[in-house]
């Protein structure tokens, strides 16, 4: 995709990169507030015996949960002719299965006692630990069209993401009536969860698109900032405090349906990286494109990862951080204070038809108002220097209901 025009702009970048060698910068695909270095350098160890409780009665897990190492994300369509009553039973069965699997238990028998029985659980996670599995359900805009008798009952801010600048969307990688996000520190545990939920839903839902993610690409509370496939720290200024979650992530609006209060909106973008092109760029170009240095992740002009970027700093008559760098465009101080919670993962789909590495970032973000993402991306899509190395090929939005209490299921009030 390196057109001549893009080649030119790369040269412009190089020319403008003068002061870029200053220390430190990290990428966040989008902005957030810094936390203390001590918090971020906390232990990054794994405890596979850790299990989360599904029945929080408040926020669903898999949002504020510190990101686990692996992701399986599945977008699904509801089969034409499915009734609201059938969806209700499906949500109840799914909720029960999610709770069971998150404890590390199989969903039904792996070894039926009757010889003619078909195993209910598929078995590949049978001997494995819970591995911090979280499963999160999202409802797409299509669920509330006229097909299933749920029209008019949807969350008020749930609407398809409009076409945005630089979009190169493939319809087969977009949308979905429902989404399941499974995250775990053992990839097989996450895969098993999605596989068995699809199986429970067979006849009512069909698969639409999926992404397998690895090497979390957004830091959560208490985690070292991980790196995306550009080799850049991602999520340095991510939302990490309870106060910010309340302010920017959890839906609290009394006008929203009861089952959405305590929930959130989920936006996903499948972002392909031109890996080979990026790998051939100079370190100056990489610094300027992002606005941070690579090893430390410090903002240009600063020295440490968590230094606050100084977007006003000028050297030799030029801004130290390019105003069209990714960090400058995405920073909350340049967006009226707006923030979203990023929880993305790296992904690879193997090789593309040209034999190049087919990989990138599966961007996942949670927010109380999807307009925040739309506005940010409208700006990034227009002028972000990073656009030269990436392409947004997939896009979807889902409403994430509040988690049920024990004895209940997800979005139960939706079915009256």
């Amino acid at each position: 995709m390196a057109t001549e025009g893009k080649g030119l702009s790369r040269r412009r970048l190089l020319a403008g990169a003068g002061g870029g060698a200053a220390a430190g910068a990290a990428v966040g695909f989008l902005g957030g507030r810094a936390v203390s270095p001590a918090e971020a350098s906390a232990s990054d160890g794994l405890d596979l015996s850790k299990a989360y409780d599904f029945y929080t009665g408040d926020h669903q897990v898999g949002i504020a949960t510190p990101p686990q190492r692996h992701l399986v994300f599945m977008s699904l369509d509801v089969v034409e002719g499915t009734t609201a009553e059938e969806l209700k039973v499906l949500f109840a069965r799914w909720s029960a299965a999610m709770a069971t699997m998150m404890k590390g238990n199989p969903v039904g028998s792996v070894e039926p006692t009757r010889s003619n029985g078909v195993p209910q659980d598929t078995g590949e996670a049978y001997d494995l630990s819970p591995a911090s599995l979280t499963i999160t359900l999202g409802l797409g805009p299509g669920l509330f069209d006229d097909r299933f008798g749920l029209a008019g009952r949807g969350p008020k801010l749930l609407a398809e993401i409009p076409r945005l600048p630089s979009d190169e969307l493939d319809p087969e990688l977009c949308g979905g009536d429902l989404a399941l996000q499974a995250c775990a520190d053992d990839p097989q545990v996450a895969y098993h969860a999605i596989r068995d939920l699809i199986r429970i839903g067979r006849g009512l839902v069909t698969t639409r698109w999926t992404v397998l993610g690895f090497g979390r690409a957004s830091a959560g509370k208490g985690q070292k900032t991980p790196r995306n496939l550009m080799g850049l720290k991602d999520g340095t200024r991510n939302i990490k405090s309870e106060e910010e979650l309340d302010e920017f992530v959890w839906v609290a609006d009394a006008d929203e349906p009861a089952w959405m209060r305590g929930g959130s909106y989920l936006v996903t973008r499948k972002i392909n990286m031109d890996i080979e092109v990026w790998d051939g760029t100079t370190i100056d170009t990489q610094h300027v494109t992002i606005g941070r240095d690579k090893a430390e992740g410090a903002p240009l002009g600063g020295t440490k990862e968590f230094d606050t970027p100084d977007f006003e700093a000028v050297r030799d008559g030029k801004p130290v951080i390019d105003p069209t760098s990714h960090v400058a465009l995405a920073a909350s101080e340049n967006n009226g204070g707006a923030k979203i919670l990023r929880r993305g993962y790296n992904f690879t789909d193997g090789l593309n038809s040209l034999g190049q590495l087919d990989a990138g970032l599966f961007f996942i973000a949670f927010m109380k108002d999807p307009a925040t993402f739309v506005e940010l991306q409208r700006k990034l899509g227009r002028v972000d220097l990073l656009n030269e190395y990436i392409a947004h090929v997939g896009s979807a939005i889902f409403a994430v209901p509040r988690a049920p209490k024990s004895g209940h299921f997800l979005a139960q009030e939706l079915f009256g």
């Binding site: 209700k88 109840a92 238990n105 078909v118 067979r202 069909t206 049920p404 299921f409």
Partner: protein, 401 residues
């Protein structure tokens, strides 16, 4: 805690039953009745040691008994069955916390039963029915299933006879040298085999090692390019198909293929006619036919030269429908909801198939080309898989009814 609750309720019930038995005509006043049926509440709750299957009473009088199952908080239990020994008499599936209670009613004779709650910390809870009155024998699921299996045996034999005639006609057409007529005869002969293939597969001729495909009737009749065994070579339906649709020529070798096909199908018919079917065989056979659709037809692998995969598809489905129809009256006694689900999913598949009918096309269905597979394969696969999944679960019920 919940266990205690059961025992107290049970003791009370037994005590009252005992009293009634001593002194009066009216009995079982401890167990509430509604429209003449004793009412038993089964509650599924999450306890400290796992999920618990809790009964408000563990006894009822002989006669109609309604079990109402409510999953209050047991995420790990999704079904409840009433068992008489190894037999399932009735059940409820799709139970999950938050859903309203679901009930099933059975007419029970005196004796010891069990409530089976797979996934609970104690899966089997004893349930006693007092009194001598035997259950009404009419409509016994096991009898209905057995009689269905007999009907199905007749169906299979009819198809086997027709299959022999079909390949004989194919041989005649091949021998005549008329490629177009032979192509039509090929498409006409396939359906009979496709309807019953899951019942007649796996036969090895006497005197052959089971690992030698030369003695494997399945291979000799229905092998294809994808499973070609070089040691045996081409044989059967698809060898004829390849000549008729790829080379579009009839050679002496084609005639030999057709003649061998008649020989092998005749051998298969001899074995096939001695087959007897048990209800679970029908269930397994129906699921296996759908598996054939999924693995051989939707992939376009089966009829790689003639592209009449949708003809095979339709006949696999028809064969599965016949097997299911034979089981249906018995299954309805055990789980009417499941029967409705299967009915609906069969309808979804046959509706899909109807869209491809073309009276002018060979075999009556559009050719399953690479383009059609690319545009429609995903949808067909999803519809078939949702039917196959539920059919796969039937054998257990049929075998234990």
């Amino acid at each position: 805690m919940s266990r205690k609750a059961i025992s107290v309720a049970a003791l009370t019930a037994l005590a009252l039953t005992g009293l009634a038995a001593c002194g009066s005509e009216t009995d079982d006043s401890a167990v509430p009745t509604k429209k003449g049926a004793s009412q038993v509440a089964v509650k599924l709750v999450s306890g400290s040691d796992g999920d618990v299957c809790e009964l408000d009473t563990d006894t009822a009088a002989a006669g109609p008994v309604t079990f109402t199952v409510t999953n209050e908080s047991a995420a790990g239990v999704t079904e409840v069955e009433l068992m008489d020994g190894q037999k399932i008499l009735g059940e409820k599936e799709n139970l999950a916390p938050g859903l309203p209670g679901a009930s099933f009613t059975l007419t029970l004779g005196g004796g010891d039963y069990e409530i089976y709650c797979p996934g609970a910390s104690e899966e089997r809870v004893p349930f006693e029915v007092t009194g001598e009155a035997a259950a009404e024998p009419t409509g016994d699921a096991a009898e209905l299933l057995a009689s269905g299996a007999e009907d199905y045996t007749t169906y299979v034999r009819t198809q086997i006879d027709a299959m022999v005639v079909g390949v004989q006609e194919l041989q005649k057409a091949v021998d005549s040298g008329d490629v177009a007529a032979a192509q039509k005869a090929y498409a006409d002969a396939r359906p009979f085999y496709e309807k019953i293939e899951s019942d007649v597969e796996g036969f090895v001729m006497q005197g052959f090692d089971p690992t030698d495909n030369k003695g494997n009737l399945d291979y000799l009749i229905d092998m294809r390019a994808s499973n070609l065994d070089e040691a045996v070579g081409w044989s059967g339906f698809h060898a004829v198909e390849r000549d008729l649709f790829e080379a579009k020529k009839i050679t002496d070798q084609t005639k030999k293929y057709a003649a061998d096909l008649v020989t092998n199908v005749t051998k298969l018919a001899e074995v096939g006619k001695t087959l007897e079917f048990k209800p679970e065989d029908l269930a397994n056979g129906a699921a296996a036919l759908l598996e054939e659709v999924q693995s051989g037809k939707i992939t376009g692998e089966e009829e790689a030269y003639s592209h009449i995969d949708l003809v095979d598809f339709a006949n696999n489905v028809e064969g599965a429908q016949q097997a299911y129809a034979a089981l249906r009256p018995g299954l309805e006694k055990i789980d009417a909801e499941l029967v409705k689900t299967i009915d609906d999913r069969f309808t979804a598949v046959t509706d899909d198939l109807a869209g491809y009918q073309d009276p002018k096309a060979l075999g009556g269905y559009r050719a399953y080309t690479a383009e059609l597979k690319a545009s429609d394969g995903k949808k067909l696969s999803a519809t078939v898989q949702s039917l196959q999944d539920v059919l796969g679960r039937l054998a257990e019920k049929a075998a234990t009814a």
